[in-house]
Symmetry: C2
Subunit: 473 residues, 2 copies
């Protein structure tokens, strides 16, 4: 009779040992296909273990397909040898493979490229308190699947916020929550379809083109003039859907004047297929005057899809963004995309809803705005004091979280950025935001986009004289 | 000189009132394009308000494009009238639009279709404690953008869990976190490309086909036999990428035997383009014996992409899933998709990492498994006691969170489901999980998929006699 030794099995259970012995014999062919195994009782007696252990091992091997049973006859070896040659044996022994290590991010002491919320600007204690409150008082709701458009409480809170802050009237049903604008953008491509031709501003957010590429849709970068994206070019290139940042163009800082807004709305109105995606990414941080009215608030025909995000106002690592769909798109949206689950945790949706409803969010952005204004002012003073202002001119400093800095230098943009990087300063030339870099106008050469929210004053005070020195050298 | 009344402006600020008066006159054409506005000082004096207020109103109107200034000359009205006809006026007055209300979900007292974690199964206090701990001790890390593959701590914790629980050795670099398997599935389509032909099991998860449809890729449902998806059919239909659930097929419950596994690996190995996506969605809940070894652990050639989710083990509303990529795909994945941000909140990633590392997750799934076993046993007893067992046969009850119930009835599946729904019981026939319903084999007619985790015992005790009655009628 088949037999295995149960000595020296260490910490392995009797069950696991027996299971592995039989399995290895099946894989290696020591137990030929069709071989009848001993009955459970006989085998147990012979091995000096309990019948239950044998029964469990047989059951597991049947479940995995190494054995089969014929009722009232017994247990037999499956024919797997033709596939298994030289394969299964090492399974449990395989060492942890070495993957190519992830490229390590270079270290900068002053990063003027990434805008990240600093720990002192995140409302940790309020957030922690509201999260705990949700965990205590909303147990049932937290675990029940919300509509895929998001938790109704959060969508209502966002609709109220849009009304209070931007004077936009939308119904909560139009608000769709998603894990970041890029995710929502992917949803929109799935909704509007692959047949349309998409466009984005050039210069602009690179991610938009990357999403288009990744979804394999046709698109074109469309050039800008002093008033924003050029409407004739949209027409000439047969664009259907265009992504724009009219309140505060990224990165040039242009605010689209009302005349161009009407032109664009008129363009959209001329065809059923046309839509404008208004990305209002940093309107909360306009540092002077009132917020600019949105394109959405001027839209009478349901041609504007409004998008905004909490990644700048709250934290880029809590992935919550939203869009406002025109009513006539809601039915198609539900029909085609409601099989998806909402991509944001309900736990964080309820927490954010409470944060907005309690007025905490408004106080928070007011605090951040004044903090960012101070940060910007300190940076502008430092630019003067460091002597950098002799070699550089600041522009577009009134809105949002970045401004432009034009250096008076003969160094190429890349050389300047490289020399700064070598000394721990991360800078990105405006040129890098052009899809077609031959379009960089003469007036914008040697211009850099300065995102200042993640650089603290001490780091800035250290960085600016270094930049002045690089230019002087 | 231009003049406006400042009486009866209610709670409106002087600034807002002046801004709106001028804007409305520009939109209506009362102020003709090119008109020169009064100087700030004169206008202020005339209106009896401060110069600063006029200056701010002019600045806002310039920012929005209603006015322009010529240095040393003054402020002029922009030409916007041709676009604005009949448009801008009502902006702030637009009432909240009425959207089509969202379809209301019908109410069931016993839902045997959706598996949702019940509040008594979610570790609220541990989760709350770990979240608070992260909020206190990881402030910098919580706000720093993680790699788009996810927070390294969580990926390392998952790699350890895979080793301890499934005996799979993978490096943390291979682990990619995303907001649900359907999101990860979309990423995979973007990675593997639109040229390949995709496939899924028929019957199977409907969402897979919906994702394919939504991304507009070619795909085919592939039929099953008693051992799982049919390899010859994959070959015949020219499939490149197939999604399967080998440990516990959804919904038939089939565990793919080792022979079919080798066959599939062999199929994948025969072409560079071929990949197998192994969806191991409920392997933690195998109620008898050890977990079934994964296909990934048998794969020597990097052809298996393993996927699993915390939506069943933790909560479907905390959107965390992961996949394990073969090493040779990592470089392409980073190159093409690292422009995306990770779709899961870092706050929840750190909390989950701590939950796994502390051993809390393992204790939690052990508790849930034993709870689900009890729930299943209670339900099986109730089926016997309610008399339903005279009209129905249970099968595939040993693994995962559902089993099959075959009714001995002449009622059509739809009639039975409708009658149950009318009495508050939600049931889904196996037939509904077939892409091609002509494929339903004779032996599986009148068979229903019973997901039992969200139905409590009292509801089940009420529901089963009703079902028996419906069959008897």
């Amino acid at each position: 009779m088949l037999t295995y030794s149960f000595e020296n099995i260490g910490t392995q259970s009797l069950f696991t040992h027996l299971y592995e012995c039989i399995r290895n014999d099946v894989i290696s062919g020591n137990l030929a296909p069709g071989t009848r195994l001993p009955s459970k009782r006989m085998f147990a007696k012979n091995l000096g273990i309990s019948t239950i252990t044998v029964e469990n091992a047989y059951a597991q091997l049947i479940a995995e397909g190494y054995l089969y049973s014929i009722p009232k006859k017994g247990y037999y070896v499956q024919d797997i040898s033709s596939f298994a040659a030289g394969q299964g044996q090492e399974e449990a022994l395989a060492p942890v493979p070495k993957a190519a290590p992830e490229p390590e991010a270079p270290k900068y002491f002053a990063d003027f490229v990434t805008n990240q919320v600093r720990p002192e600007n995140f409302p940790f204690s309020t957030w922690s308190h509201l999260m705990r409150e949700a965990l205590v008082s909303r147990r049932e709701q937290l675990l029940a699947n919300p509509p895929f458009e998001g938790v109704p409480e959060l969508r209502a809170a966002i609709a109220s916020h849009l009304h209070a802050f931007h004077g936009i009237s939308v119904s909560p049903e139009q608000v769709v929550i998603g894990a970041g604008t890029e995710y929502l953008y992917g949803l929109l491509i799935q909704l509007l379809g692959r047949e349309r031709k998409y466009a984005m501003e050039d210069p602009g957010y690179r991610k938009i083109a990357q999403v288009y590429d990744s979804f394999g849709v046709r698109y074109a970068p469309v050039s800008m003039d002093a008033n924003g994206i050029r409407t004739e070019e949209l027409r000439d290139r047969g664009i259907d859907v265009v992504h724009i940042t009219p309140s505060h163009h990224f990165p040039t800082g242009i605010t689209m004047p009302v005349s161009r807004r009407y032109e664009l709305l008129e363009w959209a109105r001329q065809s059923r297929d046309r839509y404008i995606i208004e990305d209002d990414y940093d309107s909360e941080f306009r540092l002077r005057g009132k917020p600019i009215p949105t394109l959405l608030s001027m839209d009478r025909k349901g041609k504007v899809i409004y998008m905004n995000t909490f990644t700048k106002t709250l934290a880029s690592t809590i992935r919550i963004a939203y869009m406002v769909l025109p009513e006539h798109l809601l039915a198609a949206f539900r029909e085609h995309l409601s099989f998806y689950s909402c991509s944001v945790s309900s736990f964080e949706q309820y927490t954010l809803a409470a944060f907005i409803e309690s007025g905490g969010f408004e106080r928070h952005i007011n605090r951040m705005r004044s903090d960012y204004r101070k940060k910007r002012d300190a940076l502008l003073s430092l630019i003067r004091e460091s002597g950098l202002s002799r070699y550089a001119t600041v522009s577009e400093q009134d809105a949002g979280l970045h401004f432009l800095l034009k250096f008076n230098t003969k160094l190429s943009d890349q050389t300047l950025a490289d020399r700064a990087a070598a000394r721990g300063i991360r800078l990105s030339p405006l040129r890098n935001y052009y899809y077609d870099s031959s379009r960089v106008p003469e007036g914008l050469e040697h211009t850099f986009v300065i995102n200042y929210t993640s650089v603290d004053e001490a780091a800035a005070a250290k960085a600016l004289p270094i930049l002045a020195q690089i230019i002087r050298e």
